[in-house]
Symmetry: C2
Subunit: 584 residues, 2 copies
């Protein structure tokens, strides 16, 4: 038994997992503290033991390039003289080829690759890295030597060793095969000592029955799995739900994002070679980030980078191994969800189910279907994926729900409100309705609610705190008198809040105005004129128009139309004179 230095106290419950992806260029001269790629773990155990060769990307040797008829100017023809060999013909290789095509990078097959290897062709990642990664126990030992925070682990050889691990680490206990595991296979959770032999037996068909590691709490609790996607300028987080779904970004604090990037960076820095590395991390309840494992390649959970990011993980990987500058990995759309299409039945029935799902997906705005065209359908087999992108997580989640139902409600995907119009009392409604009218005119979906800071304070708290994750992008809050609603809501959300001072019975609305506008430093409210909910609606449209070209164009047209109205009136006045005008 090999025990790990490190944790002297009982480790806290691991509440979530994150995956980090770091990019390195070939010369290691620019380390790109960039993308975290979410890990898509298949939580269901499986007896499937397909031997799968891990993907290796080989860069053609300089010798081959020197032999080209174009002489020694290697750079002249872009990268179209570069030949990349890909071992492993699954969907990751396929998507790599799609990315390569646009840059005219060519590929060779595995047989040719073997010949090149014999000639001394350079491979990425390095053999030394593959050796480390392939054995999960060696992997952990390597990282622990580099002072990277890890959960407790130990090597076990038999059932007895597993029980010892259970005694030492507690339950639930994760038991993993050291080698040749993928897509969650080769792992099993024992919830107590009695389940250990069951978990070990689940591996009877495993490649090497004597290689096991015990890993405490590696997969618990499943619902809280988080993944992290980061760009060099900051951090984007992704949340992963059970099994199939990866959401991007996720709702994790800025501090945690930084911590996760740092751990991933250290982990990848300790390995040799270029390309994309997928780093899986755990987030504990007390805010620690621990390393789970590293895959030195593009990863299932990074597929949404194709549609959602400036540079996909595949293009990035090619850039890295070929020696080109790295691209910008940050997101270009605000929200994305990737949904894995897993086989639900064997054979034809499975194809039928998948086909129905695809049929619905093709009707969802912002959904892109990827079908891997595998000839055989098996349960739990990854046969494709669907990525949905959109301007807010709420919108994208709504569309996902729509896609997974059997009936499509054509209106549903568009219905998720982008603006929340709230007021402290229904006596404000005659004023606040003008905001709703404007938003309807501009086709912006909105909800209208009564939320009172003074009479329903808890409801106000929960409305404000949950608005962002529901997909609300702007809140319009109206109140009169001692008008606290806008300011309190602004304190509880990072969303922009527009305040409408409603004229109360005395003071002509001045009390409302000052209550709303005179916020202290740190918490702003965008205040409009007294009773002017029309302008609140128009301001909301302008805000959304920052990234919604349609809306911005319509706002410009709205302004032109108002101008034209006035010009007509001025024309009438000028022609007919002021007396006629007043009398008409």
């Amino acid at each position: 038994m090999h025990s790990l230095k490190g944790f002297s106290q009982s480790p806290p419950a691991i509440t979530s997992a994150t995956t980090s992806l770091a990019f390195f260029n070939l010369n290691r001269s620019t380390v790109y503290r960039s993308a975290f790629i979410p890990m898509n773990r298949n939580m269901k155990s499986s007896n499937n033991n397909l031997l799968k060769v891990p993907q290796t990307y080989c860069r053609a040797s300089l010798e081959v390039q020197d032999a080209s008829p174009r002489g020694t100017d290697l750079q002249v023809h872009g990268v179209s003289q570069t030949v990349v060999g890909v071992l492993g013909g699954g969907q990751l290789g396929r998507m790599l080829c799609e990315a390569a095509s646009q840059m005219a990078i060519k590929h060779v097959d595995a047989a040719t690759l073997e010949k090149l290897e014999q000639q001394g062709v350079d491979c990425q990642p390095k053999a030394s890295t593959i050796r480390i990664i392939q054995d999960k126990y060696l992997q952990k030992v390597h990282f622990s030597r580099h002072a990277i925070p890890l959960p407790k682990f130990m090597q076990i050889d038999d059932l007895e060793g597993a029980k010892n691990a259970g005694d030492l680490f507690g339950y639930p206990l994760m038991i993993k095969s050291k080698r040749l595991a993928y897509d969650g296979r080769g792992n099993a959770v024992a919830k107590n000592e009695d389940e250990i032999s069951l978990a070990v037996n689940e591996k009877d068909q495993r490649p090497d029955p004597d290689d096991l590691t015990g890993d405490r709490n590696a997969l618990a609790p499943l619902e809280d799995m988080l993944v992290v996607y980061m760009s060099k300028n900051g951090h984007h987080l992704l949340r992963e739900n059970i099994c199939h779904i990866v959401k991007s970004p996720a709702n994790v604090s800025w501090k945690i994002q930084k911590l996760a990037t740092d751990v991933a960076y250290k982990a990848v820095s300790s390995l040799e070679g270029a390309g994309v590395f997928a780093v899986e991390l755990f987030l504990t309840a007390d805010g620690q980030v621990l390393l789970n494992e590293v895959a030195p390649r593009p990863h299932n959970s990074g597929h949404q980078t194709i549609e959602a990011c400036f540079t996909s993980q595949f293009e990035q990987h090619l850039r890295a191994v070929v020696g080109l500058p790295l691209g910008d990995p940050s997101m270009k759309t605000p929200a994305a969800i990737m949904y894995n299409i897993l086989g639900e039945e064997e054979g034809e029935p499975g194809f039928r189910v998948a086909n129905q799902l695809i049929g619905r997906a093709l009707r969802i705005p912002g959904a892109t279907v990827h079908w891997y065209d595998k000839p055989e359908m098996r349960k739990q087999r990854k046969v494709g994926h669907i990525t949905l992108v959109g301007s807010s997580m709420g919108i994208v989640e709504t569309r996902l729900k729509s896609m997974l139902r059997e009936e499509i409600n054509e209106d549903q995907p568009a219905a998720a409100p982008r603006v929340g119009i709230i007021m402290g009392s229904d006596s404000d409604l005659p004023v606040m309705k003008d905001a709703a009218k404007i938003l309807r005119e501009f086709n912006v979906p909105a909800e209208v609610r009564i939320v009172s800071a003074h009479r329903t304070p808890e409801m106000m708290f929960s409305y404000a705190s949950s608005a962002r994750e529901r997909g609300i992008q702007v809140i319009i809050a109206g109140a009169g008198g001692a008008a606290h609603l806008p300011g309190m809501v602004a304190a509880l959300t990072p969303l922009p809040v527009i305040g409408v001072p409603v004229r109360a019975s005395t003071l002509d609305g001045l009390d409302s105005l000052l209550s709303i506008v005179q916020m202290p430093r740190g918490v702003p409210v965008a205040t409009v004129a007294i009773n002017n909910a029309t302008n609140a609606g128009l301001l909301a449209v302008r805000l959304l128009g920052i990234s919604d070209i349609d809306l911005q164009a319509r706002m410009a047209q709205y302004q032109e139309d108002r101008r034209d109205e006035v010009l007509v009136k001025d024309d009438k006045l000028e022609k007919g004179g002021w007396e006629d005008y007043l009398n008409s």
Copy 2:
């Protein structure tokens, strides 16, 4: 001579051209009034007369599918049983194949396609459509019969006929080959009668010297060429500059967008067949939209749809011809520019120049390189393209400029200001600096200017009117006393304007506050507390955070940090008591 009914008066100068792209599904049951694709016209005349077979997309016949071993359930295997044949092996076919790969749609080569045609395979677009499109004169006759607005045109057979056209239509005069023209080849402009023979001779190497049409003002003035890109929910406009560049969207009013969509819709409705149609339009000075010509296929000027839109033109075309529901063609990024890589020299030197450009592009955030891998380099040959996408046109334009220069200034691409901080007087600067500080803290590039509504009214007009196209997304305007700046600026731009009331010498800032907040219906200003430029900066960050996940996360963290500061103080007060607290 065939004269056209229609214009009874002298047609107005054509000031811009737009291209519309409409999508039809196979059954014509859903007409998708969707994407306008900008036209990329090569303005330089050329002697290159490569005979190029227009692209035709054939859908495999049902007979072929029935022969599949999987029986009669044609739908079960997604579209991976569907075979699409593509005639024409240039970059358009290549990009179509990239789109097909993700949906596992397969391709056949031209030889196989010919055999299928003999078996009665259905081709898209229909032969009848191709016949109409291929002859530009017949095309115009066809559309005029469908009451689609067109510029004046006539068929001419010789030099004499061209001079007659010049007399009738005036100069400049566009002379076009009727057949086999592409990429601007087969067109020439005669600026006066003397230039006619030169223009006609430029076509000496044209395929058929006897086929000419005269087209008034088709390409003038070049600088004002506009293109239109539209989605089914609205309109996105693109502006095209000389030669290489297509910008998306362009700055054209909503009314013009609608008009352009209508004309394009009518034009495409008059043709048979499924798939994407690129419709080129002109915009006249008096706001008319006239049809130039239609290409029944994906188009050069639509390449940015790959990175910038939810569904690329290639995927859309495949969906249409294969009979799948159409995807959402609208933009998913606020701004995009496509730059064609044209050969600048023959042979190796040309490759070298292109390579240098690509080397710079690979270092630009948000830039995606497409290299067509054509074996021969010629002047003006389209050898690739580069698409830049970003969160505002200003940012993307700055990056384009950076890419086209020889030196890369690494800071430059990021420097384009997103927020404009303006004030009526430098006496406001001690207050307004707090906004600049906040934006710097959040890494949001901002500019700080003195713009006085009263002392520099013209400058205020021009600043406000030009802010949007310069890439400014939010304006923070501060003023004191009779504070007119924020409101006037808000009247001149569709951007959101944040107003900061600066305390003037009397009235404690109340005059400023009311001047700014009490705007009339139609023109909102987002007003913050008196002298609270910090909150103006924070509000700007919240606004930008609507679509910038990074900023939104940082804002949430900022709020947490402010909370923690207070908690520390509260802790100190609780532990030490109020007397000690006051004394410390």
